[in-house]
Symmetry: C2
Subunit: 455 residues, 2 copies
């Protein structure tokens, strides 16, 4: 049983040196972003005021299959990568399943998640372009932390607009960012026109991700030498995150392991897209077949209950439109939901793959997610992030199905991060105070009503 080690680490010289662009292999390409003013596809020049040049090229390129990872980024990756591919021997034993379970663990870095993989790339291209700094928004704080670390490494200024309620409830996340030299502003703030407008209209508001995005974009575009960066949804982010899937595949190949099922949690889609890309490429090219499962919260079910249409990427309806599975830019997931994965839409790459039936999607309720999280923590040691625990839930469910059927399937899932800054949610669960929430048809209708009628 122990022929496969508990943790498979690639050697430095086995680490991927290129990112893989799954769009190059897709028969039906993801639809382009639309300019919110003209409703025409956005080109390089449209995006230049907001994004870094090199990142726009990556965003728009759906034909180049591989992008070389610059040496400076490879060096930084060596600081915390390769991440281990862990054989979940202890979980298998606890479940008494014939299934073989592996997880790719992205939490062993101070940002606590996979977000650092793209943060360092985005900071690198900003630095290379000679910029002074970047702006972004953060909700739970993982992306903001990752970007702070990356900017600190390259000596870039980093301005983070943090949703006010998180700023106040998660002072520790805020302090990690400050320790890495970032300035953290609670949003809405007095420092932008959009922030002042919102504060005037809604005095005492605790903010929203949509508002923080608007402030970060304004901050980037109203100063010389700044650009806006984003931690998920965009195709460039999925590209950088393919380091997860490429390492996973290399580690599996090293031991001649062929997965049957690949599972990842999905909010905006950056982790899932990164994990599955190389496997999806094989599947599209007909070289292998895999069941690929996206797991989303029942409280924000964009793939399983959303519509595949053009919608604004932000609630403020100032950002570009993307064709994606969406609940409507005005959809508000229950505040009761503990984890992340609260975005109304889904990466346009993943949306197209799902529309083409190349992957499945399931939604799970949060108490079941935390049941799985605690079971996992107690046998595998690591306390998982609530987001990651969505994937654990479905991996356990699939392993239990194998127990019933006796099938020795190989299951791989993405463990995107740790839950050390999510203990309020665990406290609720430990005290038996956690409740599930599933939107009613009426809730969904309200969200759908905010989708523009350009279809």
């Amino acid at each position: 049983m122990k022929e496969i080690p508990y943790k498979i680490y690639l050697e430095e010289n086995e680490m991927p040196k290129q990112w893989y662009n799954v769009r190059a292999d897709m028969k039906n390409k993801p639809s382009p972003l639309l300019n919110p003013a003209t409703l025409k596809p956005m080109g390089f020049e449209d995006l230049r005021p907001v994004f870094c040049d090199e990142l726009i090229k990556q965003e728009l390129d759906d034909t180049t299959p591989f992008f070389d990872i610059p040496e400076e980024i490879l060096d930084f990756y060596k600081m915390y990568r390769p991440s281990p591919l862990v054989r979940a021997y202890f979980l298998e034993k606890a479940l008494d399943t014939p299934a073989k379970i592996y997880y790719k663990f992205e939490g062993n870095n101070t940002s606590g998640s996979h977000k650092l993989n793209s943060a360092i790339a985005q900071a690198y291209y900003a630095k290379k372009q000679g910029l002074k700094g970047v702006t972004t928004e953060t909700g739970a704080g993982q992306w903001g932390t990752a970007l702070s670390m990356a900017c600190s490494y390259f000596g870039l200024d980093c301005e983070v607009y943090m949703v006010k309620v998180s700023y106040e409830q998660k002072p520790f996340r805020r302090e990690v960012m400050r320790t890495y030299g970032a300035s953290v502003t609670p949003s809405p703030s007095e420092s932008t026109a959009v922030g002042r407008k919102i504060l005037k209209e809604f005095p005492g508001t605790t903010g929203s991700l949509g508002c923080a995005i608007s402030e970060a974009v304004e901050a980037a575009t109203s100063k010389v030498g700044y650009r806006y960066v984003l931690g998920s949804v965009l195709s460039q982010v999925l590209l950088h995150q393919t380091i997860i899937g490429l390492e996973t595949k290399a580690a599996l190949d090293k031991y001649q392991i062929k997965p049957d099922i690949i599972i990842g949690c999905a909010g905006g889609g950056s982790n899932l897209g990164g994990l599955i890309s190389p496997f999806m490429g094989e599947k599209i090219r007909g070289e292998a077949d895999y069941r690929i499962i996206a797991v989303e919260p029942a409280s924000c079910p964009s793939l399983t209950r959303g519509k595949y249409v053009y919608d604004f990427c932000d609630t403020g309806m100032v950002c570009p439109l993307a064709k994606m599975y969406t609940l409507g830019n005005g959809f508000i997931p229950s505040a009761n939901h503990a984890g992340g994965l609260r975005y109304h839409g889904m990466s346009s790459i993943l949306s197209q793959l799902y529309a083409d039936k190349l992957m499945e999607a399931v939604s799970v309720e949060q108490t079941q997610v935390f049941d799985a999280a605690v079971q996992f923590a107690r046998v595998e040691g690591t306390l998982p992030a609530p987001e990651s625990s969505h994937a654990i839930r479905v991996a356990i469910d699939e392993a239990l199905k194998c127990k019933e059927t006796g099938e020795e399937k190989t299951i791989v899932f993405g463990l995107t991060g740790t839950g050390y800054f999510d203990m309020l949610a665990y406290e609720k669960y430990n005290n038996g105070e956690m409740r599930d929430y599933v939107p009613t048809e009426e809730d969904l209708a309200k969200g759908f009503a905010t989708i523009p009628t350009l279809q």
Copy 2:
């Protein structure tokens, strides 16, 4: 420059299978524990009501050089070990030093520190003895978390008495322990006689480690099937922690690296003792020479300003006496001090080695420690625990000396853990509100006055 990888991981089959007992090689053995009632050396039967049988054997054995690590513990170690030995290329570059810096990083597990290495061993021996559970105290919470994880793995009951002020100020640590199934009681509590007595005498007290120890010992000895376990100071704990030093040595040997200086932070001594033991063994046997440096906080300077005498291990003066460098069991380090390392005494093994001039000790002030912590975090990524940062401070200082002299020394230090649950201290530092504290001669005199006069 890149011939040595950023992170050296041992293969599973290269991992140590025995712990090393440095006492077997020591010419002057550490002095035995004394029974507080009789002042005679404590034997096996004296210790049985409090500690597990197998652990007492390890505690008393100063002649057996190696102890086999049981298979079950080796399995658990594989869950989070080997820990990486990291070449601090980024730090070296930032310091522009010819020195080569390595650190052994013990923070990549949910307990956040090296404490898990001994917690799993102690839980294993308790389980093997057929006990129902164990009790312990915790201050900052790292030890309590580690023990909760270990007990959860073996299905043992785990009762943690957490100093009340920490229980209230660190609710997240408390919830991690509860997530792993431990019961966490704020100390002093109504559930023990000693707790009730203290609450009656000092209503509204926020507790102390000394009081929590007394409660945990009473809880263990007043019930059938329970024993008390401790996370530092004891020789058995140092024995388990030698996994750190043995892995470090194996990783260095693999690349034919010979360290010149080995540095670790020292509170009770478990991490430092574990890291240096195999190197100290070589030094004692005359096979190699190393500079070995213990780093302690200026606010609690047991080695650098303490006395080498018999003193009680606890403030309540009910526990055994140990011969050690001590500031007096009544010494109270400034509440202003942010990190751990607040114990009044020092492991009797390390005390004897220091008395025999086989190692050095330095004390450092906390603002300098946090300067080093932030510098390290920004270039090496990982946000270090305040305790570990004491070692970083001295490693940087030694590397800067090399820069002056041009010497290419090899420096190895122990990075015991991460600072994710210490953000209040970082916040103080980030806000410029952190102050240093060095005890006056008068403060020290007050502590020394509590040392019993049996010398």
